[in-house]
Structures are given as structure tokens and as C-alpha cells.
């Protein structure tokens, strides 16, 4: 997309603490009204990225543009960007009302303005009547709402959320996920959201930027990341997948034959590869089918059923391949064939389900 269109642009950002680089050369464009998630394991640099955007951390190198304007050296109080902190960071010595009105007070708003805006915000986060409470008297979920209200009252161009639901229990988290998404859509405010929970990322985001060791691995829609991961890390971090290690045997324009344990599997691919390259094939557990007899499909592997666990609606199976690799598969339990551990089974899949990915996990796998 064109340069001027992005609301926020990060250009080759680096941030080093002492000699350790927390982020090493990231670039990203975020668009108006977008819900963008920074996803990655802990320590991958997501929080540092967010803090650089907020102005709480100065990058060692690189530029931050907001609406095309360079804000790299602007202090946090001068940025139209607000943050919801991981631990909420509410002011413990102020009641809910004062917490929410704090930003307006700093802007020199009148009492009347502050009262009206606070009321509106309390209604938005469904905490009417809680204005006089102290933060210490609130539950985690309520504190979370106050933190969000406190930031939203300033109508920021971008709201930064640093694992805002991390401290909540599962049920409350689900509920807050929906509420946050609803709020984001109705207010039309751009959200940059941090999480290490891939399910949360898939369910809420317009786009996900997957991070690892201070770099972006892949940026795209949840569907693109799930269906078309580009690397083994992306495939395994989002959803559950099997990574089969093999070598490219033959390369065509729109795909390749990958040799896994002596068997050539056809795979669609747009990657630049040459015969002999070590590659990975990502096979989602729920996209595999199991049969007691060979099927007429080019994409199949046979092995021994080593484990079979009934889990209600689905069955989780482990199949050992002759070359020692293990495939995990999930199948609906409805009308399943009776198979027992030790049986010879055939796993097959539709060719587009297999995704060829670069093996960026090789060092760790050893």
C-alpha cells in the first residue's frame, strides 16, 4: 500500500539493552481502524516494540511515524497513543473516577467535561456506579475495564494493549475478548494488541504480526498465518501442526515433490527452492484422515497407531512412521472405524492441506 496511508509506521527499529538486542530491525505499517496483534513467545520483543511505540523506550535505531510525522523522539505525554499496561498500573491512591479522568485533568479539562466523559466511559465499560471505588476494591476484570476506560477517554489514535487479559481466568478472558473486539469495532480505534496466546490472536485480530527473537517472522491475516505459514516456527506456534522433515526431490512451478522417509509427497508451493534443499512439510492435526486400508490418494503415509485417546467429540491419535517421525492427528469420533493401538494405519490428506515451510527450527530440534 501507499506510504501516506499508514497510520503508524515502524521503520527498521532496533532496541538494545546493554549489548542484548530486544528488537533487531522491525518494520511495520498499521492502518486506521485495524486490530493488529503482536504475537510471539515471551521474550520475543513484543513488549519492547509496544513501549517504543508508546514512547516509554527510545529505539537505538530506526524511526516511528504517526500519520507520516516522525515521533521517534517525542515523549510519551505528547503522543496520541495510549497504553493499557499488563498489570493495569491504576493509580492506587485515586478512586475509579479520578483514575479515568486523570488524562483529561492533565489536559486541563474542566470539571464538567471530566464528569461527563467519566460517566460515558464507565457506561462503555459497564462499570456504572463504581466511580467512587478504590482500585483495591475491584476484581481483576473490573480493574482491567478501568484501565481501558482510562486510556480510551483520551480518544487516542492508537490504543496499545500489553497482554491485557493475561491475569484473568479463562472464562472472564473469553468474555473480555469479545467485549474488547466489540469496543474496538464500535469506536473504530486502532488497536495494537500483545498476546502470547495464539487462540486469542486468531479470534480477535485483523492482522497478526508473529514475532520471534526480536524480528517479525510473518505478518498477515489470521487465516493467512494459519493456512499459509511460511516457516516451521510460524506453523508450529499457531495451531497444532506436524512438521515432517524431508528434502526437495523435484521442483515444479507451482509445487514440489518432497521426500519424507523414502516416500515422495506432492506439495503446492510458491517458495524458491531447489532440489536437495532440506524442507519441512506442515500438516495440521485436524486436516489428517485415517484409514485402516490404503486409499487412492497421492498424499498418504502409513505407520503404526501408537496412541489413541478418546476426547469426546474427537479422538487424538499418534502414529509412528517407519522413519521414526511421529504424526499427531485429530478425528471426529462420529462413525469412526474401530482401530486399536498397534494397528497399521494410513494417514492421508488433501494436497492443499500440506504446506511447505522453511525449516527455521532445525537448530532447536537437534
Amino acid at each position: 500500500m501507499a506510504e501516506g496511508q499508514a497510520l503508524l509506521s515502524l521503520r527498521d527499529l532496533h532496541k538494545a539493552f546493554d549489548t542484548q538486542e530486544a528488537i533487531s530491525g522491525i518494520s511495520l505499517d498499521v492502518y486506521e481502524g485495524e486490530f493488529l496483534t503482536l504475537l510471539g513467545p515471551s521474550g520475543c520483543g513484543k513488549t519492547t516494540t509496544l513501549r517504543v511505540i508508546a514512547g516509554l523506550e527510545a529505539p537505538t535505531k530506526g524511526v516511528v511515524l504517526l500519520n507520516g510525522e516522525d515521533i521517534t523522539r517525542l515523549p510519551p505525554e505528547k503522543r496520541q497513543v495510549n497504553t493499557v499496561f499488563q498489570n493495569y498500573a491504576l493509580f492506587p491512591h485515586m478512586n475509579v473516577e479520578k483514575n479515568i479522568a486523570y488524562g483529561l485533568r492533565m489536559r486541563g479539562a474542566s470539571r464538567q467535561e471530566m464528569r461527563e466523559a467519566t460517566e460515558k466511559m464507565l457506561a462503555l465499560v459497564q462499570l456504572e456506579g463504581y466511580g467512587k471505588r478504590q482500585p483495591g476494591q475491584l476484581s481483576g476484570g473490573q480493574r482491567q475495564r478501568v484501565a481501558i476506560a482510562r486510556s480510551l477517554v483520551l480518544s487516542p489514535r492508537i490504543l496499545l494493549l500489553d497482554e491485557p487479559l493475561g491475569a484473568l481466568d479463562l472464562q472472564l478472558r473469553r468474555q473480555m475478548q469479545q467485549e474488547l473486539k466489540r469496543m474496538q469495532q464500535s469506536l473504530g480505534i486502532t488497536f495494537i494488541y500483545i498476546t502470547h496466546d495464539q487462540e486469542e490472536a486468531l479470534g480477535m485480530s485483523d492482522r497478526i504480526a508473529l514475532m520471534r527473537e526480536g524480528r517479525f517472522v510473518q505478518i498477515g491475516s489470521p487465516q493467512a498465518l494459519y493456512e499459509q505459514p511460511e516457516t516451521a516456527f510460524a506453523a508450529s506456534f499457531i495451531g497444532e501442526t506436524n512438521l515432517l522433515r524431508g528434502r526437495a526431490a523435484a521442483v515444479r512451478d507451482d509445487g514440489a515433490l518432497i521426500e519424507v522417509g523414502g516416500i515422495s509427497l506432492p506439495v503446492d508451493s510458491q517458495l524458491w527452492i531447489s532440489p536437495g534443499d532440506a524442507m519441512c512439510v506442515s500438516l495440521r492435526a485436524e486436516r489428517l484422515y485415517m484409514s485402516p486400508v490404503p486409499v487412492k490418494e497421492p498424499c498418504q503415509l502409513s505407520g503404526t497407531l501408537a496412541e489413541s485417546r478418546y476426547a469426546g467429540g474427537e479422538r487424538v491419535c499418534m502414529v509412528h512412521l517407519p522413519d521414526g517421525q511421529v504424526l499427531k492427528s485429530r478425528h471426529p469420533t462420529e462413525g469412526e472405524a474401530p482401530l486399536s493401538v498397534g494397528d497399521q494405519v494410513y494417514l492421508w490428506w488433501h494436497q492443499p492441506s500440506a504446506v511447505l515451510v522453511r525449516d527455521d527450527l532445525a537448530q532447536e530440534a537437534l
Partner: protein, 283 residues
């Protein structure tokens, strides 16, 4: 279960006995003494009287009380103005430097207070380093009178009391959740505004403890004004000291002490009312 509670309480017994004996009894003794008449020589005798307290209401003693309270108030104030930034700086300093700064505050404790005050006497004297510097720079023709002034007493007091401000403020600031300060900046507060709207209120327990810990001992300190002050500053502590050792009026000295004690109690009561706790005074 019940047994365990009893055992835990039993552990406090020696301390309680000590306090009852050496604090409780002695206080009762002083209060009792203050209600007696002056006796033969260095003693006290019946009949019981409120005369000693009535005497305190005379202008010279009230003036002394006012001077003492003013000096204690100024001492606490200057301790805050100097000690707070120091403690804040200490918390912000890297851990290694922090240790050294902390030592800087604590080491003087290990030196005899009198020796340190004599140090000030030398510094302030007509031919002392301060005056030498002032004259060398041509800021004054003749040595400034520094020693034996109220100013010297105040400097000495602040110097003696400042650790009691630095330490509680330091421990409050050290526990401060800095992400809250970042939140304030994020919400539009300049560093100075964030300091006054967030850092100061959140370290208020340390400030209050520091004020109480510097104010209370300052009312009663007498040797500082003896050594550094002029002869005309008669502080409450000096008064007690004089009545006891020079006039040898035991009951009146006791009454003066009871007033001091009551003032102290009042300050602590105020402190508790403000939400302060004994724990914040301990570091």
C-alpha cells in the same frame, strides 16, 4: 491451633516485660513526680500540686515551647526538602551506586554524635574553612558569624536528623510500582506533573514517617543548641536539662518532660489518623 497462638504470644513476653518495666514504670514515675512539690535539695515531696503545670503557662516557657516547635518543624521541613530528592535519586541509581549512597547515609551513625557536632563547630568557626573560603572569594571583609546562631543549630539539626527522612522515603520509593508512573506519562503528564500527582502521593507513607521521625526527636534535642547555638536560644530540651541539673527542680523538670511527651503523643496520634502505621517507620 490454640496452643500455637499462645506459644506465639509467649514469644513477645520478654519484650513486653522489658517495656512495662523500663518504659511504662518510668513514665508513671515521671508523671507522678511532675505532680509533686519541690523537696529538700535534689528531691521531691508532698503535697501533690498542679503548680508545676501552671508555671509552664508563663510567657518565657511558652516562648521556649514555640521556638522548639518552630525549630523542629523547620528541621523536618528541610530534611524533607533535602532528604526526599536524595532518596529518590538513590532509588533511581544503579544498584552498585545505591549501596554506596546508602552507606553515605548510614556510616555517620557509626561515629559519635558529639564528635560530628564538633566537626560542625570547626567548620562554622570564625577561622574555619567556610569563612576562609568566603574571605578568599572576597564575598565578605570580615569573618561571618556562623557559629552560635540559630542558623548553625538548624544546620546541625538537619544534618543529624536527615537519615530518619532518607530511609523511610527510600523504602517507600523503592517499593513504588514504576509502571504507574509510566502510565501517568502515557496519559499526558509531564515528568514534573507525574512526580507530583503520582510519585509524591504514593510515597506519602514514607514522607509522613520521615516527618514524624525527624520532628519528634528535634523537639527534645538539647546538646546541639548547647554546642552550636547562642546563649539566648533556650529550647525545650535545654529547659529540661537546666531545671534538672542546674536548678535541681526535679518535679518541674518532670512536668516539662510530660509536656514534651504529650506533644510527641499528639504528633503520633495525628500520624495514625493520616493512615500512617508503625510498620512504615521500620525499614
Amino acid at each position: 491451633m490454640k496452643n500455637r497462638v499462645h506459644r506465639r504470644e509467649a514469644l513477645a513476653l520478654p519484650m513486653a516485660a522489658y517495656a512495662a518495666l523500663f518504659v511504662g514504670l518510668s513514665l508513671l514515675y515521671i508523671i507522678g513526680l511532675s505532680l509533686l512539690s519541690r523537696g529538700e535539695g535534689f528531691g521531691a515531696s508532698l503535697p501533690a500540686t498542679g503548680e508545676n503545670y501552671a508555671r509552664i503557662l508563663s510567657p518565657i516557657y511558652l516562648r521556649s515551647l514555640w521556638l522548639s516547635l518552630r525549630l523542629a518543624g523547620l528541621t523536618a521541613l528541610f530534611c524533607l526538602l533535602i532528604g526526599y530528592p536524595f532518596a529518590y535519586f538513590m532509588v533511581k541509581a544503579p544498584p552498585r551506586a545505591r549501596t554506596w549512597l546508602l552507606l553515605l547515609v548510614i556510616v555517620p551513625f557509626w561515629t559519635n554524635a558529639l564528635i560530628r557536632i564538633y566537626g560542625w563547630k570547626i567548620l562554622f568557626s570564625a577561622s574555619g574553612p567556610i569563612n576562609q573560603l568566603v574571605m578568599a572569594l572576597g564575598l565578605a571583609q570580615r569573618p561571618l558569624k556562623l557559629l552560635y546562631t540559630d542558623f548553625a543549630v538548624l544546620v546541625g539539626m538537619v544534618y543529624a536528623m536527615i537519615p530518619f527522612m532518607v530511609l523511610p522515603v527510600y523504602s517507600a520509593a523503592e517499593r513504588l510500582d514504576w509502571s504507574v508512573v509510566e502510565a501517568a506519562r502515557d496519559l499526558g503528564a509531564s515528568p514534573i506533573k507525574a512526580f507530583f500527582t503520582v510519585v509524591v502521593p504514593m510515597t506519602m507513607p514514607g514522607i509522613l514517617a520521615g516527618l514524624v521521625l525527624t520532628f519528634i526527636p528535634s523537639i527534645g534535642l538539647f546538646f546541639l543548641s548547647d554546642l552550636l547555638g547562642g546563649s539566648n536560644t533556650m529550647l525545650w530540651g535545654n529547659l529540661v536539662h537546666n531545671e534538672l541539673l542546674k536548678s535541681r527542680d526535679l518535679p518541674f523538670a518532670a512536668a516539662l518532660s510530660v509536656v514534651l511527651l504529650a506533644l510527641t503523643g499528639l504528633v503520633i496520634l495525628l500520624y495514625r489518623k493520616k493512615g500512617g502505621s508503625a510498620e512504615t517507620m521500620v525499614f
